[in-house]
């Protein structure tokens, strides 16, 4: 997990401009104006859990990938935690998934 060092607490490094990667342990798909996306990202920041973030409005490849994984939905935030795809999860659901994947 340590090798995936994209977002760290207090930093906003990517804004979704990166090329589409292979799947990372934690990926947050969302938009810059979505409060729920912001809440999940800040939650991960506070817990110092590294994650990839893709702004689906700025990154068509990420949007296509999201659509592919969710059966056509572009609902956000969608969080992928070690292969579990959570569409509009609560923070608690994200924490459970992190715990199941031993990522915290």
């Amino acid at each position: 997990m340590k090798a995936i060092s994209i977002h760290r607490a207090g930093r906003c490094a990517t804004h979704g401009e990166r090329a589409a990667p292979t799947i990372a342990p934690i990926v947050v798909y969302g938009t810059s104006w979505c409060a729920a996306t912001q809440a999940i990202r800040r939650h991960l920041d506070r817990r110092e859990v590294p994650y990839h973030h893709f702004d689906i409005e700025k990154n068509p490849a990420a949007a296509a990938r999201l659509r592919w994984m969710t059966g056509g939905s572009l609902r956000h935030p969608t969080v992928s935690v070690a292969g579990e795809v959570l569409v509009e999860p609560s923070l608690q659901e994200v924490d459970w998934a992190l715990s199941r994947a031993s990522l915290t």
């Binding site: 799947i23 104006w33 059966g71 659901e93 994947a101």
Partner: protein, 246 residues
């Protein structure tokens, strides 16, 4: 750990699934595979949540807090241009949810984040203010006071704050309706509520940041707000930013 092998296997399968996406021609078969994948993920999520089926008989506090998710959408383009950076922030005095009068000048010598939002209970507003509540510790580290203003009554503010656990002041721009929002140039006359707007006001009462969301449903980017607060901090202390934000 019990979860590790499962997690690793699922990760590998997801990786393979993702890599297949560009290799499959567009069409109904591809769509069906995608839908099936979505179904599997949702079933797995439901099984993992492990809770009983939600009760349909009694409305809980959590149900009420989530009502905004099924509420009619709030749509519309921005109609206003906010007051400019550098201008003196107009003073406003409004009642909070306890009926106490709160004035901007009460917070002289303190950084203030003044939030104008359309309405209590509405989509986006609910998530926006809960986000700020979750960030309250961070705002405190900047020495920033949050003040949120909408055209709702003090009673609506009180109920909404209780349901959502909001502890910062919600001010009622209720009578004369929208007067504070008008002074800040963010009132939407035809709608009867304000724009979704942010102002950062420095210790001397000058506006240091002003923003109106281009769409009512769009919540300002909190990372942008932190960049602004970092900038102000640097200007005052010569430091790049608050160290170790979490």
């Amino acid at each position: 750990m019990e979860g590790k092998p499962y997690s690793q296997r699922l990760l590998e399968l997801e990786e393979r699934f993702e890599q297949l996406e560009p290799l499959i021609p567009e069409g109904s078969e591809k769509e069906a595979m995608s839908v099936l994948h979505g179904i599997v993920q949702e079933l797995w999520r439901h099984l993992r949540s492990g809770g009983p089926a939600p009760s349909t008989s009694a409305l809980t506090l959590a149900d009420i807090a989530e009502l905004h998710r099924s509420a009619p959408p709030m749509e519309g383009e921005a109609q206003s241009t906010p007051l400019p950076v550098g201008a003196q922030a107009p003073d406003i005095t409004l009642q909070d949810s306890n009926g106490r009068l709160v004035s901007l000048r009460d917070f002289g010598g303190q950084l203030v984040i003044l939030i104008f939002y359309p309405l209590d209970w509405s989509p986006s507003c609910s998530d926006q203010l809960s986000l700020y509540q979750a960030e309250s510790g961070e705002f405190a580290r900047y020495g920033a006071q949050l003040l949120a203003v909408s055209a709702d009554s003090i009673y609506s503010h009180g109920a909404w704050a209780a349901v959502r656990g909001l502890t910062f002041p919600l001010l009622a721009d209720f009578e004369p309706k929208g007067e504070a929002a008008r002074r800040y140039q963010v009132w939407r006359c035809a709608d009867g509520f304000s724009e979704r707007a942010l102002y950062v006001i420095d210790k001397k009462g000058a506006i240091r940041y002003s923003y109106v969301s281009p769409k009512l449903s769009h919540v300002p980017d909190i990372y942008e707000l932190y960049r602004v607060l970092d900038g102000l901090q640097a200007r005052v202390h010569g430091a790049p930013q608050v160290a170790g934000r979490k």
